[in-house]
């Protein structure tokens, strides 16, 4: 297979899911139950093609940076707008991730969505979503990416709000859409800044422009700002703090959708974007990214500790893991960040599908017993599912181990790499940066704890309700995807060595791109002058010792100037390697103690829940004070809302409601402050903005009195004011 075939095939891969969408939207009602079969088959074909393309790219052209084309789309003024598609190594891998998970979700849904009256529509939306997601994957320019980015937003809106009869579902869809738009706003502005500086939407042109030293508005700070703007898009899609609020609500969608959107694809799009444009981030932008990722990882891990809804735990865990990926990219661990994206996709999809399997079984049992009050998603209503649903349990347990980062799983490989990276980063930069590995390790420990809490409460012990007793293992189309995904979470797919991935194919293929940012604005330890050549050499002649002098940038950052970097790409990788074993031991210890704690509390009940509560209060208080969140929250958000709402209360129901809610929530106790912060301050800020615009609108509307003479007065006033304003 030659290079030329890759791109046409990629376009075919992109368009096939669209075909599924069109068939199901137009002939769905005629097809009925068949639409699931049609959709699944089509996705199966797509998966086959994706595998062909990905293998061709990785095996035959693995050393080639990218296979791409450039097509002139239209003229904008005097500028030719070029677009195109491109397959580089990360795109090739993403193709498989997206199509395989989409295929499994299609398969899973044939049973899960059985009997839903809009069954064909569901498949149509799945097709549309897959199409848009693949578009993001193969775009090699900002313009196409933005278009598909929006399409993903729309199709996920349809999927999340699929059960729109439930008010919460349609609101969740809306919230996801609007929160994402806030991020997209930044994305759009970023794209515009880049376009008007470099005159092209193509990634490579932008990078070339940056490395030639041209800066937006002739100001390097603007490059950082452009980078942060672009990253804002990722913050929205990948649910990064403070735009992460939509993802937990989005659990209102059907569970297979959660597996598709919230585990592997849509939320990964943000991380993917950061990876794609990694070369344009300055040191400052990277620091921003790392900080956001860390905050996200930590905060959502703490929230996940206390959730009782099966899917909510997984949702916050997803946010936390996305935080890990973003953090890894931010500290410079490009390869490990993307690696974690891939491994996480498999096991998180498995977790969600397992959750779907459980919920499906619970629903069925409840239905049989004519019980319509018990919450089928509350883990306190489960228990003992280990006996009734053995296959679901086995796969769930295995992928939980993967998520917790236990050796022999893929999760261990990637998480370990990330943690080592944060240590390396902190060591290289010093100072407050050490907070990043500290929080990262803490979050990793909490991950192990809450995942085992979930496993033990839901699957172990006695049946807590009658419904749980009557659950049955599901049919093959539900179990099979679970097994496949669990299987994919074995270490062997990525590296022969179960404790070190750096010798595996993945690390050979996914090499950190050479930064386009001029040296003065980039971390010196991330500079890899001969990145591409070096990677090539490393690939072709393993073990060859190409010695490179460490590059000098900011002098004080280079602690070991003059060191040879060996076969490492840059100082960062070398340092990561040094920290590898420390990180491994530390993370194992922390994860192990998390798991042990979970067992002690929930399995053997050695520690009472009250003590746990007290413990968490202490931890949260500590973390809050450390970050001054508490003070910030008091000084700005609450007081701000109070002042504004007092002023508006005569008029505005929203704020009155908000106040009432707020005061009742404040009394609930300190242990929920983090959750509170999440739900009420950030949501509140969003609401406040909405309320404020609404308030302004309502005020302005009063001007439209219906009296023609007052209109004339306003016109005259308007002219006078404008006159005196411009004099």
């Amino acid at each position: 297979m030659t290079q030329d075939v890759v791109l046409p095939l990629s376009i075919l891969i992109l368009l096939i899911p669209l075909l599924s969408f069109l068939i199901n939207i137009f002939f769905g009602n005629k097809l009925g139950r068949l639409s699931g079969v049609v959709g699944t088959t089509i996705l199966g074909i797509d998966l086959g093609l994706a595998i062909v393309v990905a293998f061709t790219k990785l095996t035959s052209y693995g050393t080639l940076h990218i296979i791409q084309n450039r097509v002139e789309w239209f003229n904008l003024g005097s500028v030719k707008v070029l677009v195109g598609i491109g397959i580089d190594n990360i795109a090739a891998i993403m193709l498989i991730v997206v199509t395989l998970i989409s295929f499994l979700v299609h398969l899973f849904s044939t049973v899960y969505m059985e009997g839903d009256r809009r069954y064909p529509k569901f498949y149509a939306y799945l097709g549309l979503f897959t199409f848009s997601m693949l578009g993001i994957v193969i775009a090699n320019n900002f313009l196409l990416m933005y278009i598909f980015w929006e399409l993903v937003g729309i199709s996920s809106y349809l999927l999340i709000g699929f059960w729109y009869e439930k008010n919460s579902a349609s609101n969740a869809g809306k919230k996801a859409f609007i929160t994402n738009r806030i991020g997209d706003l930044g994305f759009f502005i970023g794209i515009m800044i880049l376009f008007f500086t470099y005159g092209s939407f193509m990634f490579e042109d932008v990078f070339a422009g940056i490395s030639s030293g041209v800066m937006p508005f002739n100001n390097p700070t603007m490059l950082t700002i452009a980078g942060i703007c672009i990253f804002m898009g990722a913050m929205g899609k990948s649910a990064q703090f403070p735009l992460h609020v939509w993802l937990p609500d989005a659990m209102e969608g059907p569970t297979p959708v959660s597996a598709l959107i919230h585990a592997a694809t849509m939320v990964a799009a943000g991380v993917y974007l950061v990876a794609k444009v990694f070369a344009m981030f300055t040191a400052d932008a990277l620091t921003f990214i790392a900080v956001i990722g860390t905050i996200t990882a930590f905060i959502s891990a703490t929230i996940a500790l206390t959730q009782v809804d099966f899917k909510k735990v997984l949702a916050y865990s997803t946010v936390s893991q996305l935080g890990f990926m973003v953090m890894s990219l931010g500290v410079g661990g490009y390869t490990n960040g993307f690696f974690h994206l891939v491994t996480h996709a498999w096991f998180k999809a498995a977790l969600f599908l397992a959750a779907g399997s459980v919920i499906h079984a619970m629903h069925h049992a409840a239905h049989h017993m004519h019980d319509h009050h018990t919450d089928a998603q509350d883990i306190n209503n489960m228990g003992g599912l280990k006996k009734t649903m053995p296959w679901t349990y086995r796969t769930f347990l295995f992928v939980t181990l993967a998520l917790s980062g236990i050796p022999l799983t893929s999760g261990f490989l990637s998480k370990d790499g990330i943690l080592a990276g944060t240590l390396a980063y902190a060591n290289l930069t010093g100072g407050w940066h050490w907070i990043i590995p500290v929080l990262a390790f803490t979050a990793a420990g909490m991950t192990a704890f809450y995942m085992f809490r979930l496993t033990i409460v839901a699957f172990h012990g006695e049946h807590k309700t009658e419904i749980a007793k009557h659950t049955k293992e599901n049919k093959l189309p539900i179990v099979l995807p679970l097994v496949v995904l669990a299987f994919m979470s074995l270490w062997i797919f990525y590296s022969p060595n179960p404790i070190d991935a750096s010798k595996g194919w993945f690390h050979k293929m996914i090499v950190q791109p050479k930064s386009a940012v001029p040296d003065a604005y980039q971390w010196s330890f991330l500079l890899n002058e001969h990145a591409e050549e070096d990677a090539t050499v490393a690939h072709q002649a393993e073990g060859s010792t190409t010695h490179l002098e460490a590059t000098t940038g900011k002098p004080d950052d280079v602690k070991a100037a003059g060191h040879t970097t060996g076969h490492y790409l840059n100082k960062f990788q070398e340092e990561s390697h040094h920290f590898h074993y420390i990180a491994m031991i530390l993370s194992l210890l922390i994860a192990g103690s998390g798991i042990a704690l979970a067992f002690m509390i929930y399995q053997y009940k050695l520690i009472s829940a009250d003590k746990l509560e007290a413990r968490f209060k202490f931890l949260h208080t500590f973390s809050l004070n450390k970050w001054y969140f508490d003070e910030l929250y008091q000084a700005t958000a609450i007081n701000g809302i109070l002042v504004v709402s007092k002023a508006l209360s005569w008029f505005d129901n929203y704020v009155v409601d908000g106040l009432v809610n707020l005061s009742s929530y404040v009394t609930r106790g300190f242990s929920y402050v983090v959750g509170l912060f999440d739900n009420y301050v950030i949501d509140g800020a969003v609401n406040l903005t909405a309320t404020f615009t609404g308030f302004l609108g309502a005020k302005l509307r009063k001007v439209q009195t219906g009296h023609i003479q007052s209109y004339v007065v306003f016109v005259l006033l308007g002219i006078l004011i404008l006159l005196y304003f411009f004099i």
């Binding site: 729109y164 809306k174 023609i708 209109y711 004099i727």
Partner: protein
């Protein structure tokens, strides 16, 4: 005796370039007479109007490439005017077709002779306005179109809200044009001329006082501003849009706005452009007044007010009225950059705006025919009661929001790129923020159509195949031009040069 031979030569050439307008006058008279002659036929005037407009289109097409100051510089015939005239012409045609299917109009009157006649009269007024290069001519043209539109807005005269709309419209319009003509008199006092070319030459050669120039500019802007619904001259818009028959509301929102923008751009470029240091790329404006800034402020006010108030609307026509105010704001943004890119962006945006806005109004009209309601609440489940209409309306609304892959996105893209290209990043940011707000109320309609109170509860709505075909004729290009828009861009780029004399 005065020697008038040079005037005769000019007149002969001018009349040959005046064929489209002449055709419109002929159509007006013919429609009036034949309507009286054929008492039985209800839409005879409409058919004649369509025929007349088609012939006008042919003559208009023949003018391609013409650049001429006709009728002793009263009128300019150029490619910019041609583009805008085509917009006006197409919307007139579309509106007449819409009117054939309007229950509202046909229930109120047995014959619609005056209706079609006045639409032709208004088209004539707009054609004149688009080409006017003399302040008196501008005033006459504005009054011609206004007087027709006052009557059209209250055409269903037994309906209370329609008569209220026309009263408000006539008072507001008369005051605005009164203020405008006062501003013109001040400008006349400053420059001693009413001709934009002569005013321009005077301003190049002499220094005039800033404050009276600003005052007269603002007063003249009030006349243009009320045509394009720019804040603070927009107050009539929601009331008249709600009260007038839907067809006329749609007409006002596109055609008269197009004519208003045409004259606004021409006024600035012909009257205030310093033609000495290179004309094309960035316009060098005369005088010490920063007109960029003035227009930019108006643009910000206009789009912000339009979007914020639209959020509260429950009547579709009123909602679309505020939305059209907001769109005027986006367009003003492109005007404020005052260069050829901005003009081209206005033209591009207008073409797409015509398709999507007329489409949305036609859907409103069809729904009102069936449900006798224009409330947003009554659109609940429309997507299931009439799937085609629902999908098309969604396309129009998404396009009005400016999301890809619709033509509205392309329009916004060009507007924003023109704005950012000229360095007004803050303006673009406000514009983008505004489109986020607009998302809220457009999505509200889509949500009502699809996600509220659905399926079994209400009966299907059946529309005749012809009306569905018309909706599709607007919806398909709205989508299609979102992907393949090069011909429109090329046409607009060809037409962006406003003739400024020699």
């Amino acid at each position: 005796m005065i020697d008038i031979s040079h005037i005769t030569v000019d007149l002969v050439k001018s009349i040959s370039l005046f064929k489209p307008e002449t055709t419109l006058i002929a159509t007006f008279l013919l429609a009036m007479i034949l309507d009286m002659a054929f008492k039985k036929s209800k839409n005879i005037a409409g058919y004649i109007a369509i025929a007349g407009l088609l012939i006008t289109a042919i003559f208009l097409f023949e003018q391609t490439g013409a650049n001429y100051k006709a009728f002793s510089s009263l009128l300019v015939v150029d490619s910019f005017g041609q583009f805008m005239k085509f917009i006006v012409l197409m919307s007139s045609l579309i509106i007449i077709v819409f009117s054939f299917f309007s229950d509202e109009l046909h229930n109120a009157h047995t014959k619609l002779g005056e209706y079609y006649t006045l639409i032709i009269g208004m088209t004539f007024g707009m054609f004149l306005l688009v080409g006017s290069s003399n302040l008196i001519m501008i005033y006459v043209a504005i009054e011609t179109m206004s007087i027709s539109s006052y009557v059209l807005a209250g055409y269903t005269k037994e309906v209370k809200r329609a008569s209220e709309a026309s009263l408000k419209y006539v008072i507001f319009g008369a005051v605005s044009s009164g203020i405008m003509i006062y501003g013109i008199s001040i400008l006349f006092g400053l420059t001693g001329s009413l001709n934009l070319f002569e005013i321009n030459q005077f301003l190049v050669a002499n220094k005039v006082a800033t404050i009276p120039l600003l005052l007269s500019g603002l007063m003249i802007l009030s006349g243009f501003g009320y045509k394009i619904s720019a804040v603070p001259f927009h107050f009539w818009t929601p009331d008249v849009y709600e009260g007038a028959p839907v067809t006329i509301t749609a007409y006002l929102s596109v055609a008269s706005k197009a004519a208003g923008f045409a004259v606004l751009l021409r006024f600035f470029k012909t009257g205030l452009l310093d033609s000495i240091p290179g004309t094309s790329e960035a316009w060098q404006l005369l005088g010490s007044i920063d007109w960029h800034y003035v227009i930019a402020v108006l643009a910000v006010l206009t789009m912000t007010l339009g979007n914020l108030v639209a959020v509260w609307q429950t009547n579709m026509k009123r909602l679309l009225a505020y939305s059209s105010i907001a769109h005027a704001g986006y367009l003003l943004m492109a005007v404020s950059v005052m260069n050829d890119n901005g003009v081209s962006a206005v033209l591009i945006y207008f073409f797409f705006y015509m398709l999507m806005n007329l489409g949305a109004f036609f859907v409103v009209q069809l729904v009102a025919n069936k449900l006798n309601s224009e409330e947003v609440e009554d659109y609940n489940g429309l997507g299931y009661r009439s799937p085609v209409l629902g999908v098309c309306m969604t396309v129009f609304l998404i396009s009005l929001t400016g999301l890809p892959p619709t033509s509205g996105f392309i329009g916004k893209l060009y507007v924003f790129s023109a704005v950012i290209n000229s360095g007004y990043l803050w303006l673009a940011v406000i514009g983008v923020l505004n489109s986020v707000v607009s998302l809220y109320y457009y999505v509200k309609i889509i949500r009502n159509m699809y996600l509220r109170d659905v399926e079994s509860t209400k009966s299907k709505l059946v529309f005749s195949p012809v009306t569905i075909a018309i909706v599709l004729l607007l919806a398909v290009p709205t989508l299609l031009f979102g992907v393949y828009f090069t011909p429109i861009i090329e046409w607009a780029n060809y037409s962006m040069n406003i003739f400024v004399g020699n």
